[in-house]
């Protein structure tokens, strides 16, 4: 049995069978529609009291009210900005350090215990530290975002680098490829699917931490708006904002998927999708 995710295992098997089903995005919308129907039905059926979990239609009308305010759009922009900056910093740092650490076994061995120690320290435990350094500004939240999403990328890169086909690596070495060439031609293609998964996880974690930071620290953004709605007892507005956060997550995923599809065109997991 051969390994699952190796570049050489791609082979030439065009195994995807064509069958005509509804396009993916339509099914996805159907899934979301089902969720909306459920969110409307559960409170209406009295499973939960409406004043604690209002029906979906109430949330939508609260959302319409929110969308009419400038504060909402400013908060949305602030959240997206913090998320994008944090994700970019974490990804760059995670990939570079991951390749360096993973590519050099002695470094990897020396760093392993430190990584294991630092990684589980919950980003929420860093909140007092972040506030101390940056007050209740955007940068305090940024620290949490970078810290939490960095590990997602780093760990995936480390696993990806470990997955490099030893034969391919030996071949490259015996042909005396230069280090950079080795990284580019052997290590990178194998690690890329892992990097993409890491990036996708990090994109979600960064968003979660951005919102959590805003919520708990009070730095500007949608999370702060959620906190204000919570402490004002504005239940429908609160859920409306939560829906916005969830939708950002969906859109982020769609975008990252598109990027992934472009970057990994040659990989079996993506090729099959394209064929069928």
């Amino acid at each position: 049995m051969t390994a699952a995710v190796t570049a050489d295992a791609v082979g030439d098997g065009r195994g995807g069978r064509r069958h005509r089903t509804a396009p993916g995005w339509l099914l996805g919308l159907a899934g979301l529609a089902g969720l909306m129907a459920l969110a409307e039905a559960v409170p209406r059926a009295g499973l939960v009291k409406e004043r604690f979990l209002p029906p979906f239609s109430d949330m939508v009308s609260a959302l319409a009210d929110e969308a009419g305010t400038g504060a909402f759009w400013r908060a949305l922009l602030e959240t997206l900005r913090g998320w994008a900056i944090g994700l970019a910093v974490a990804t760059a740092a995670g990939v570079v350090l991951g390749v360096v650490i993973g590519g050099l076994p002695p470094v990897r061995a020396a760093m392993a215990s430190t990584i294991e120690f630092l990684r589980p320290i919950p980003s929420v435990a860093l909140i007092p530290l972040a506030v101390l350094l940056y007050g209740t500004t955007m940068r305090a939240t940024l620290l949490l975002v970078v810290y939490a999403s960095f590990w997602q990328v780093l760990v995936q890169v480390l696993y990806g680098v470990r997955d490099v086909d030893p034969v391919a690596r030996e071949t490259a070495r015996s042909y005396r490829f230069r280090t950079l060439t080795q990284v580019r031609t052997v290590l990178w293609p194998t690690a890329l699917p892992y990097v993409m998964t890491g990036f996708r996880l990090a994109a979600a974690v960064a968003l979660i931490l951005e919102i959590t930071g805003e919520l708990v620290i009070g730095s500007p953004g949608l999370g702060k708006q959620i906190a204000v709605a919570q402490s004002s007892g504005a239940v429908a507005s609160m859920y409306a904002l939560v829906i916005v956060v969830g939708l950002i997550g969906v859109v982020v995923n769609v975008i990252v998927r598109a990027v992934e599809r472009r970057v990994l065109r040659w990989h079996p997991s993506v090729r099959r999708e394209v064929v069928s």
Partner: protein, 318 residues
């Protein structure tokens, strides 16, 4: 609008110059208003500072407020101590806890106080409509939700029980955020909840029953919270602190005399429903710190084991 504000600022500069006011330790003696960062929790209690800002009381003192909202004292105190913000808002028990650990804090103005009227305060203990709990005494041995454990709300609920002649030792306090309390009470996860406005009004509107006004039971006209700064800021910018305190005094007084303006300003920084905002019980906004009330809170903190020894109240107070 901007021009009006600029004109106001210019006028106040002229006025102050004419009066010979303004110390000089502050950097903004003639460069226009000094920007001060204030860290507050976006709740009813801090309405005066927003109202005062709106009314221009801070501009009069050549101060330009920059609000940084936080979600609790745990985030505000470090920000003030490290100088990230100039002033913060916190309840007294938290300040006492911080001071007892040696944090250099200094109160500059009172924040809000209990109305002093039983069953007509801005916070209280609420039970479900059919609950067997009738008075604070019946809370003994029951599950009571408070927003933070080992802080002002559980100590004052204990004080309330003791005052009613009950045993406060075996109350089971559970920590729940104010917004989550009513659902937990409704589901029967807890027997009683200690809530403040706007949740108190919402609770009573939905059939909850008020059994005790814990702040009223603790001490007459208990001051709940205060605006504070670090001792470093107090020592290095005494003029700035003085101006902030003066503007705060005026804001508190104005807020206390104009409840309708307070209800209106809530709409600018919270999302409280206007109908709830019109109905809720406002706290009192005193201009003087009630030293006796603070002493009571300190004693309670010691009695309930939050701290071993009460800090000298004089160090904390202005």
């Amino acid at each position: 609008m901007k021009r009006i504000r600029a004109a106001l600022a210019a006028t106040s500069v002229l006025l102050l110059a004419a009066c010979g006011g303004g110390g000089g330790s502050s950097n903004a003696s003639d460069k226009g208003p000094a920007t001060v960062k204030v860290s507050v929790i976006p709740i009813v209690d801090v309405a005066p500072v927003y109202l005062g800002d709106q009314q221009g009381f801070f501009a009069e003192q050549k101060l330009k407020l920059q609000f940084e909202t936080a979600q609790g004292g745990a985030a505000i105190v470090p920000a003030v101590v490290s100088g990230q913000v100039d002033f913060g808002f916190s309840n007294y028990t938290s300040l006492v806890l911080a001071r007892s650990k040696g944090l250099p804090l200094k109160v500059v103005a009172p924040g809000n106080a209990s109305t002093g009227v039983d069953k007509k305060d801005f916070g209280g203990v609420v039970v479900k409509a059919g609950s067997p709990i009738k008075t604070a005494k019946d809370l003994a041995g029951k599950r009571v939700a408070v927003n933070t454990l080992n802080n002002i709300n559980d100590t004052t609920v204990r004080a309330s029980i003791r005052k009613a002649g009950g045993d406060a030792k075996n109350v089971k306090f559970t920590e729940l955020a104010f917004p989550d309390m009513l659902a937990a009470l409704d589901k029967g996860n807890v027997d009683a909840v200690q809530v403040v406005e706007p949740f108190l009004t919402t609770a009573l509107k939905n059939g909850g029953r008020l059994v005790a006004s814990n702040y009223v039971d603790t001490a007459p006209d208990l001051t709940i919270a205060a605006y504070f700064t670090s001792q470093k800021t107090a020592a290095s910018k005494p003029d700035l602190v003085k101006r902030f305190a003066a503007a705060m005094q005026k804001s508190l007084q104005y807020a206390d005399q104009h409840p309708d303006a307070v209800r209106k300003v809530l709409g600018t920084y919270t999302k409280i429903d206007p109908s709830v905002a019109a109905a809720l019980t406002l706290p009192k906004f005193p201009t003087q710190v009630n030293g006796a009330g603070l002493q009571t809170l300190e004693n309670l903190a010691v009695q309930d084991g939050l701290i071993k020894k009460a800090p000298d109240a004089k160090e904390l107070l202005p």
